[in-house]
């Protein structure tokens, strides 16, 4: 299976650390090492798919700009039985 975002370059770890809030207060050198060749800056146009349902988890994304809609089709998560009258 082809790797996603092949035509996008990896970000420099220093840039990653600066952009991700949850990495603040961590040991900078360790974090830079962890995020070497691990993060890409990607652009989506409107209606473009980010990931499909039931696709294997390979990436987690941080939304920098724009709006992403998520939805699950089929398989209700709430109570299946009819609810009683209150």
């Amino acid at each position: 299976m082809a790797e996603l975002y092949q035509d996008v370059d990896y970000l420099e770890p220093g840039v990653v650390v600066a952009q991700l809030n949850f990495l603040q207060d961590l040991d900078g050198e360790d974090v830079k090492q962890i995020f070497t060749q691990a993060v890409k800056d990607i652009q989506l146009h409107g209606r473009e798919l980010l990931h499909a349902q039931d696709e294997p988890v390979e990436y987690v994304w941080v939304l920098l700009d724009g709006k992403i809609g998520e939805v699950r089709r089929g398989g209700r998560t709430g109570p299946a039985a009819p609810v009683p009258d209150a």
Partner: protein, 753 residues
């Protein structure tokens, strides 16, 4: 919508900049994305490989809490109405719920309001008031902001509320948009949420334990329970533990285990809901006979004794007395009756044994009565011998009758006011002489080393002796003379001590279980209590207490309670003895010299000198007064959760002495109100005896010394409980590592024979 009107789609949400997309699919190891994600407009994202995130978590395990609001997620996971919402959906909810705080009596919405949010109670209580003057109370874990006509075919999002919702105590709740909730979870919560209110009320109302409550009390009780869902097995009660809650199994199973007296495991049993356990906890924390474990996917109502105590305080009835619960041991007094009789009882504390002195002590206390009676008899005899009516004899007899009666009443009250009480936490001894003094000494059960008695020949004949309760403190003896039923009293104290020790063992087991739950990542910790504050006390407000409080000599700040000495203790220090007479004489002389017309020339200088001296004296007096007041203001007694501090500071920073004593070293607490003046102004001394060579830390002349002693005792009890928990945690700390290594070795095929 499907045939039942439920939405087909779920886990639907729109993410805004800053959101982490796919994080819950990753964290909860689902292997695949649960949703399809699409850009709704041109978007820019950082795509992070999960392999990098895994390395990050390995290196910084606590980073998980920054990637997602896991605390909030953990709380939502225990809400019964969300029990079928999968983890990713709970994660989406955790992202959007807004934690809100409401004050006591704050109106959240009124009847007729349009509300687009729904609320989930994290901790606290809400009262719903309907138009039919019927009220419903909700506690932890309940939903409100629900409309009976909402979905599946009714309105979603903005709905008209049929009741008003008011926070009846400090409340923390999660608010979430109704529409967003439905879109994520795929179900409309209104009708199931309202049905849940009924289920709780009916379940509690049908329990035999509360059968003597009136209908309103049963409804209100529902507001004092926490409704919890446990996704995995959870230890609720540990055998031998002094359970703090009654547990009602609503749905699912419970496993009941027990060890016999020899430590052998007895056969386990499984119970199905609805049923209940640990109801004796409502009478005061009492040891339990069995271990009760909630199975995964079960729902429970938890009624913490602390919450029940609060309910009991605000309700006019004595609710504890109305419980249909058979105590495990004979309890002398419980509930409001106990609190009214002994206002110093701590919340949840029960009186186990009460002892007054032997009747011979009554005769001793009434010695003045018998002497007066002797005189009376003599006067009556003399009067009968004298001829005719003698006025002086009649007056003397009348006077003696009056005096004898007074002495008798005094003696009876004095006898009745001396007692020894054994509670499930301490031994308390009080002596009180009406209008003269009050003295109380107490020793926590854990600090008692031994209980002995001394008995001489007469005591052996008549059945009394001196009970000696020995603690490790330098002055740690409680001696109760003329005690009756000494053997029974000794046995009671010993039994209560043993029970407290068993608590430590049970606590250890509980901690091992909790440590393992954390290690296996199945720990859930919903709030254990509904009422977040301390229990209100019902101690009567007296004019003396108001007088003491009016001087602002006691205050609480950040868990530190501070007392100053009573203002009346200033008076002797000001030095009236020499200032007032000197001041008066000088004033008199000045006045005499100035008003004396035709004062001779040679006395004018003397007059002016006296005037100057008077002014000087006034200045000295003011300086002395200021010194004494500042000195009084600077000297404080402080009580924290760990220590007591006596801070003595001279004005202008001339000197500062600070002496401290750890609370854990206090063996017993003694309260003295030594004189009628102290009684009138409600102040006295509190002596904390420690095991150290230094002896005791004494709080001199503190206002309301009973309350000071009670506060110290309460803090000692809390510290002991914390220490027990900490010790148990320390003992259990390494066990998960042992089990993990054992499990790995046991599963490793190369180690199998």
């Amino acid at each position: 919508m499907d045939a039942q009107g439920q939405p087909h789609q779920s886990l639907m949400r729109e993410s805004q900049p800053g959101a982490l997309i796919g994080i819950y699919d990753y964290l909860f190891d689902k292997g695949a994305y649960r949703t399809r994600a699409r850009a709704l407009e041109p978007s820019r994202l950082l795509a992070i490989k999960v392999a990098a995130l895994s390395r990050l978590i390995f290196r910084f395990p606590n980073i998980r809490g920054k990637l997602a609001p896991l605390d909030r997620f953990g709380r939502l996971r225990t809400l019964p109405l969300l029990h079928k919402v999968e983890e990713v959906g709970l994660g989406f909810l955790a992202d959007i719920v807004e934690p809100l705080n409401f004050k006591e009596n704050e109106l959240i919405y009124a009847s007729g309001d349009t509300e687009s949010r729904l609320f989930m109670i994290d901790q606290g209580q809400v009262r719903l008031d309907g138009s039919a003057s019927e009220s419903h109370w909700l506690g932890n874990g309940a939903f409100f902001g629900l409309a009976a006509d909402a979905g599946p075919r009714g309105p979603i999002g903005e709905r008209v509320m049929r009741e008003s919702a008011t926070a009846t105590m400090a409340l923390t709740a999660f608010a979430v948009g109704h529409r967003e909730f439905v879109e994520i979870t795929g179900f409309v919560p209104d009708q199931p949420g309202l049905a849940e209110v009924k289920v709780r009320e009916e379940l509690l109302g049908n329990l035999i334990v509360f059968s003597r409550f009136d209908p309103r009390q049963r409804l209100q009780l529902a507001g004092f329970v926490s409704h919890n869902y446990y996704p995995s097995n959870r230890l609720l009660i540990q055998q031998g533990e002094s359970a703090d809650s009654m547990w009602v199994l609503v749905e699912g199973d419970a496993i009941i285990r027990a060890l016999d007296n020899t430590g052998q495991k007895m056969i386990s049993a499984v119970a199905n809901g609805p049923t209940y356990f640990g109801e004796t906890a409502l009478l005061g924390m009492s040891p339990q006979d069995s271990t009760v474990e909630a199975t995964g996917d079960s729902q429970w109502l938890r009624l913490h004794w602390h919450d029940f105590e609060e309910f009991d305080v605000i309700d006019p009835d004595d609710l504890r007395a109305k419980l249909t619960v058979k105590p495990k041991k004979t309890v002398a007094l419980v509930g409001k009756e106990a609190r009214n009789k002994y206002p110093w009882l701590l919340p949840g504390e029960s009186v186990i044994y009460f002892s007054r002195r032997h009747w011979i002590a009554f005769f001793r206390k009434n010695a003045p009565t018998f002497i007066l009676l002797g005189f009376l008899i003599v006067f009556l005899f003399v009067g009968s011998l004298l001829p005719g009516y003698q006025v002086w004899i009649a007056a003397s007899i009348l006077f003696l009758i009056l005096l004898t009666l007074l002495a008798l009443v005094w003696g009876i009250v004095d006898y009745m006011n001396d007692w020894l009480v054994v509670t499930d936490r301490r031994v308390v001894y009080q002596e009180k002489l009406l209008f003269v003094y009050q003295w109380r000494k107490e020793a926590p059960l854990e600090q008692i080393n031994n209980v002995d008695y001394e008995r001489h020949l007469l005591g052996r004949w008549l059945g009394f002796g001196t009970l000696v309760v020995q603690t490790a403190g330098s002055a740690g003896r409680i001696e109760f003379t003329y005690t009756t039923h000494i053997e029974k009293l000794r046995a009671t104290i010993s039994a209560e001590r043993t029970q407290r020790q068993q608590q430590v063992v049970a606590e250890s087991k509980m901690q091992i279980h909790r440590q393992l739950e954390r290690r296996l990542d199945v720990a859930v910790a919903p709030p254990s209590r509904v009422y977040p504050g301390e229990i209100q006390t019902t101690e009567p407000e007296t004019w003396r207490r108001k007088l003491a409080r009016g001087t602002a000599v006691h205050w609480d700040e950040d868990g530190r309670t501070t007392w100053r000495k009573h203002w009346i203790s200033l008076l002797p220090k000001i030095g009236w003895a020499w200032i007032i007479p000197a001041f008066g004489v000088l004033l008199g002389l000045v006045a005499w010299l100035d008003w004396w017309e035709g004062i001779p020339e040679q006395y004018v200088v003397a007059s002016r000198a006296f005037q100057l001296l008077t002014v000087l004296l006034i200045l000295v007096f003011i300086a002395r007064l200021a010194w004494v007041i500042v000195d009084w203001y600077n000297d404080t007694y402080e009580l924290t959760d760990n220590e007591i501090v006596n801070l003595r500071k001279l004005p202008f920073g001339l000197r500062e002495d600070r002496s401290t004593a750890p609370l854990g070293r206090i063996q017993n607490v003694e309260m003295k109100i030594p004189s009628p003046i102290h009684l009138i102004f409600d102040y006295g001394n509190v002596v904390c005896h420690t095991a150290a060579e230094g002896g005791a830390v004494i709080f001199y002349a503190v206002p309301n010394p009973r309350a000071v002693a009670e506060e110290i005792t309460a803090r000692i009890q809390r510290l002991q409980r914390r220490s027990q928990e900490q010790d148990a945690r320390n003992r259990a700390k390494d066990l998960p590592d042992w089990f993990e290594m054992y499990s790995r070795l046991a599963e490793d095929p190369t180690t199998q024979n």
